[in-house]
Amino acid sequence: MRIAVQQEAFDLGVEANAFAEGAIANGAIVTFTGVVRDLTTGDLDVMEIEHYPGMTERALAAIAQEAMDRWSLGDVLVIHRHGRLAPGDRIMMVATAAPHRKDAFEAAEYLMDYLKSRAPFWKKEISTSGAEWVAAKEEDEDALTRW
């Protein structure tokens, strides 16, 4: 299990390859990558991600450990960036390795659902028209009830 909270960009290919390396007992590897999008007006300049150093690492490790306990997993990887990102930049990735794909898929979804609303990150969108904190969505909170 590896948790990385970092400002620097990560290389999706390098990370996925390193994670898959030596996963002989794990026939299934799922990766998910979150990308900064510019949905509305096309004028998003910067996405600023604030976090709570210390609590962030603890919360991510607890979420990853819970996934390891619930599903039959060989390994879990979580990388989440903070600081200033531009549209198209990769914000975060999770990867799960498991003997069977159902566990790998479900655990990856679980990780995403939980780190969306239980890991202390806050996104601020800065555009030509101003700066605004991204509000948490009710559906993100609702997503937790299915687990």
Partner: protein, 81 residues
């Protein structure tokens, strides 16, 4: 104890962190004490349903006791991922 603020709570109060000496028994008591200090605190704490609190880096709630707590953090609902 250390009191930390994040995201718009930090912006509204105007600082990321401060040391507070308090006799507050619960998080709600601390919120009431801070709100009574200055308008910027009252504005930040106006709607507690829009806020979350962590005690010693674990999510908690506003009824929780502060006994033995070293670090309190206030912030809006999280938006990771």
């Amino acid at each position: 104890m250390d009191v930390l603020y994040f995201a718009w709570v930090r912006e509204r109060i105007g600082l990321p962190k401060e040391k507070i000496v308090t006799e507050a028994a619960t998080v709600s008591d601390l919120v009431a004490e801070l709100s009574a200090r200055e308008d910027r605190y009252a504005a930040a704490f106006a709607d507690l349903s829009a806020l979350r609190v962590a005690l010693d880096q674990e999510l908690s709630d506003f009824d929780a006791p502060l006994n033995g707590v070293r670090e309190v953090a206030f912030f809006p609902p999280m938006t990771g991922g």
